[in-house]
Amino acid sequence: MAGLPEYYPDFYSFPPFFTRQPNAASWSSQLAQWRAFVLAYCRAHKLWRLNLVDALASPLFTNKDINRHLPLPTIREVVDDLAATANAEWTSPDKSAAYIYWRTPDDFATQIYTYLDDTAQKGTVLTLLELTDGDDTTSQEWYGMEQPMLERCLAVLVKRGVAQVFSVGDDKGVKVW
C-alpha cells in the first residue's frame, strides 16, 4: 500500500491476515508476521504499553483501507506468544494491557550498561526517573520506558552483579559499577 511506513508488512493489505487461520502451518507463519509487526510498530511509535482495547482501533490492528481488523482474542493470542519469548509482559492477570519489549530486557540492560559506561556514570547513583525521562537520555532507545519495565531491565543487571537497586524515599535509585 502506498503511503504506509515501511515497517508495515505486505500482508497488512491481505484480508486473511486479519483472520486467525485454523490451519496450523498457516497460523504459525501468520503469527510470526504479527509478532514482527507488533514489535516494529511499537518501536516506531515508541509504544511501551499496549492497551488491547485501545490498540484494537489503532492502525496496528485495524486496516481502514480494507476495513479489516484483528479480533481481540487473536490479539491476545499474539501478545501471549510475545510474552512467551519475553517480548511482552501482561501488566495484570486480566490481560487487558501489556508491556511490549521491542527489545528483550536483556538487550535493554546491555544498552543501559553501555550508556552508563560511555558517559562515565558508573558508580554514581541515578534515579530511575533520570534514566527514563532525564534530559540526557532523550536519544536513547529506552527513553520514556515505563518504570516497571525499567526495573525489570535493571534486575537483569543486578543479576549480572554489576548494579544495585535501592529505594530513596518514594523514588528508586540505581548504582552501576
Binding site: 500482508f11 493489505s13 484480508p15 483472520t19 490451519n23 498457516s26
Partner: protein, 588 residues
C-alpha cells in the same frame, strides 16, 4: 454347459435384462458342475432373478461370474446337507438339443425301448413327480426310492426298511422295464405284466403293484400304499388316449445315463446356509415363468386402450377413429372440441383404471409409462412452457409416474436371512446404490459435481425406489461398505462430520488442485476488488465454488476447508461469511 457369460454392473452386480427382477441374493455359495467343484467359483454370491440364476465370485468377479437361464432348468432338487457337506440345490439342465418343453430324452441304454417323439407340452406337473421311480425290495417288498446317481459303478443302497442290499439286477430291472412309475410311450411294446395292468386299469382304479382294486377317489393303494394314477386330461392327450396312466411318469434318462456321460446338472452349495429361502424363491420363479411373459400377448382390453393412450392430442383424425361411439360426424370447431374431449376421457379412464388397484397398475404399467412419456414429449415440445425449470419439474414427475421397477431396489426379503444377513443386505444395498449413482441415464454424481451428501442421496435414492424405502441408518451402513466392496464410489467424512458420497477417483488432492487452478484462472481476470492488492489474487465464497463445481453449498464449504487443511487456501472471516484466498503462507 449351460453357463452363459454374465455382464456385471460397475458395482459388480449382475446386469439385469429388461423386465428382469431380482428375487433373492445369498452369499457364501459355491458352484458345482455335475459332481465336481468349478474352480474359482467357490466363494461368491448367488443372485436369483425372475429369469436367471447368476453367480458372482467374490474375488475377480469380472472374470469368474456365470449365469444360468431358468428356462434351461428342467428340475431342481434340494439336498439338506449332512455333517460336513453343505446344503445344495441341484439344477438339472434341459438338454440343449431337445426342443423346448420336451420332457424326454431318448433312453440310450434300453434297447427295447425305442425313442418316441412325444408331443411337447408347455407346462406340466411331471417335473416334480419324476423322482418317484422306485425299486421294490425283493426281501420285504418295500418300495425304495430309486438312487439318483445309479450307474454301473455306483454303490447300491440298502433297502430302507430291512437294510438288505438288493441285487444289481433288481435295480437295473426297475430302471429298464417300464416300471409302474414310468409312463409308457404310446408305441412302446409292453411286457405281459404291463398289459395285464393296463387291462385292469381300464376297468377300475387298480393298484399297479398289488393289483388291489381301490376306490376311485383314493390316491394311494389301501393295501400297499403305492401311489395310484391320477386321471387328468393331459394323460389321455399325451398317451394317445388309449392307455390310462398308471403312475407318475419318470423321464427315462435319469437312470439310464451311462456313467461316462456328462451329467447335465449344476449344484449350488450353500456354505453359509440360506438354501431354504432360495429354494422357495426358485420354486416361485419356476412356477411363474416370467421369461415367457415377453412374448405373451397383453390383455386385449388394455391393448385396445393403449392405442388411444399414446396418441398425440393434436392428431385429430386418429382420435375420431378411436371413438367409435360418435356415430354422428361433426365438423368444425365443435368437432375438434369433441375429439379432444373424447381423448381426454379415454386418458382419464386409463389412468383411473390403472390406479384402481395395484394388480391393475402392474398389468398396465407399460401403458402408463407410455402415457407418461407422451406427456413428457408434449411438454418438451410445448413452446409456451418457456420456463425450463418448470418443464424439468414436470418431466421429472412424469418420469416418476412411470414407476418402473427399478433395477436399483434391493429389499430385505430378497436377502437371505442366514447368519450374515444384515451385512449381506447392506452389501447388496451398497452395490445397488453404487449402480444407481453410476447410472448414465441419471448421472446423479455428475450433476452434483462428483459429491453428494448422504442426506441428499437418501432423498434421491428413495425417490427413485418409490416403494420399499430404506431407512437412513441402512443407507449409512451400506455406504460404509463402499470401500470394502471396492465400489466405484466412496463415503467420505469431512471434519465437521458431514458424510458425502463421491466418486472414488475424486481424491482430495485432485479436488484441491482443481480448486487452486480455478482460483488462479480467476485471478488472471482483471481484479474486481480494486482495494485489494493485486498480488493476493481473488477471493471466493463457498457459494462461488458451489456454482463453479456444481457442489451443494455444504459440500463446497467442506471441500474448501479440506483444501485449507492441506494448506492451499486461507480464510478471511468477514461480514458476508468466509471468503477464501489462495494461501500465501503455504510456500514459505
Amino acid at each position: 454347459m449351460a453357463f452363459r457369460k454374465l455382464d456385471l454392473t460397475p458395482a459388480l452386480r449382475p446386469l439385469l435384462l429388461p423386465n428382469e427382477a431380482l428375487l433373492f441374493v445369498q452369499d457364501a455359495v459355491g458352484l458345482y458342475e455335475g459332481r465336481y467343484k468349478v474352480p474359482n467359483h467357490q466363494n461368491g454370491s448367488a443372485y436369483l432373478t425372475t429369469h436367471r440364476i447368476c453367480f458372482v465370485n467374490n474375488d475377480e468377479s469380472r472374470k469368474y461370474s456365470a449365469a444360468l437361464d431358468l428356462k434351461d432348468v428342467e428340475r431342481y432338487d434340494l439336498y439338506n446337507g449332512f455333517l460336513k457337506s453343505s446344503p445344495k440345490i441341484t439344477l438339472y439342465m434341459r438338454p440343449s438339443d431337445a426342443p423346448l418343453g420336451s420332457e424326454y430324452r431318448s433312453a440310450s441304454r434300453s434297447p427295447n425301448c425305442t425313442p418316441v417323439q412325444t408331443p411337447p407340452r408347455s407346462s406340466t406337473p411331471l417335473q416334480s413327480l419324476s423322482v418317484n421311480r422306485q425299486w421294490i425290495c425283493p426281501i420285504c417288498t418295500f418300495p425304495n426310492p430309486f438312487p439318483s446317481n445309479f450307474g454301473p459303478s455306483a454303490p447300491i443302497p440298502p433297502c430302507l426298511t430291512c437294510g438288505v442290499k438288493p441285487n444289481r439286477s433288481v435295480l437295473e430291472g426297475a430302471m429298464n422295464s417300464p416300471a409302474p412309475a414310468t409312463r409308457p410311450p404310446s408305441k412302446e411294446p409292453y411286457s405281459d405284466s404291463s398289459l395285464l395292468q393296463v387291462g385292469i386299469h381300464k376297468s377300475k382304479n387298480a393298484c399297479p403293484r398289488c393289483t388291489f382294486i381301490n376306490d376311485q377317489a383314493l390316491r394311494n393303494c389301501e393295501i400297499c400304499g403305492e401311489i395310484l394314477s391320477v386321471d387328468d386330461a393331459d394323460d389321455s392327450l399325451a398317451s394317445g388316449g388309449s392307455i390310462s396312466r398308471t403312475e407318475s411318469p419318470s423321464p427315462a434318462y435319469i437312470g439310464s445315463i451311462p456313467s461316462g456321460e456328462q451329467i447335465d446338472s449344476v449344484k449350488l452349495s450353500f456354505r453359509g446356509g440360506g438354501e431354504k429361502p432360495f429354494m422357495e424363491k426358485l420354486k416361485g420363479a419356476m412356477v411363474q415363468r416370467k421369461w415367457l411373459l415377453e412374448q405373451a400377448p397383453t390383455i386385449p382390453t388394455i391393448t385396445a386402450g393403449a392405442a388411444n393412450l399414446t396418441l398425440d392430442t393434436r392428431d385429430g383424425d386418429l382420435a375420431t377413429s378411436n371413438a367409435p361411439e360418435t356415430t354422428e360426424r361433426v365438423v368444425g370447431v365443435r368437432g375438434l372440441e369433441r375429439q379432444s374431449r373424447n381423448l381426454r376421457m379415454n386418458n382419464e379412464r386409463a389412468i383411473a383404471g390403472a390406479f384402481e388397484d395395484l394388480e391393475a397398475l402392474m398389468s398396465r404399467a407399460k401403458e402408463i409409462i407410455a402415457l407418461a412419456e407422451s406427456f413428457a414429449t408434449q411438454l418438451s415440445d410445448n413452446p409456451s412452457l418457456a420456463n425450463s425449470d418448470a418443464k424439468q419439474a414436470l418431466s421429472n414427475s412424469a418420469a416418476l409416474l412411470a414407476l418402473r421397477p427399478t433395477d436399483f431396489s434391493v429389499t430385505k426379503d430378497q436377502i437371505s436371512s442366514s447368519s450374515s444377513s444384515t451385512s449381506l443386505y447392506h452389501a447388496e444395498l451398497a452395490r445397488s446404490i453404487a449402480d444407481f449413482l453410476a447410472d448414465d441415464r441419471r448421472s446423479i454424481l455428475k450433476k452434483e459435481g462428483g459429491a453428494i451428501t448422504l442426506v441428499d442421496l437418501w432423498a434421491i435414492y428413495n425417490r427413485a425406489r418409490g416403494i420399499e424405502l430404506i431407512s437412513p441408518s441402512d443407507l449409512e451402513n451400506a455406504a460404509k461398505l463402499f470401500d470394502k466392496l471396492q465400489l466405484p464410489v466412496r463415503l467420505r467424512q469431512f471434519k465437521s462430520g458431514l458424510l458425502v458420497v463421491q466418486e472414488r477417483n475424486k481424491t482430495d488432492e485432485k479436488v484441491a488442485k482443481s480448486v487452486l487452478v480455478w482460483l488462479d484462472s480467476l485471478s488472471e481476470v482483471e481484479p474486481w476488488e480494486l482495494k485489494t492488492n493485486k498480488r493476493w489474487g481473488r477471493s471466493i465464497l463457498a457459494r462461488d465454488a458451489a456454482e463453479n463445481f456444481g457442489w451443494s453449498i455444504a459440500v463446497a464449504t467442506e471441500e474448501l476447508e479440506m483444501v485449507e487443511e492441506r494448506g492451499g487456501l486461507c480464510r478471511e472471516v468477514g461480514v458476508e461469511g468466509v471468503r477464501w484466498w489462495k494461501n500465501p503462507w503455504n510456500s514459505n
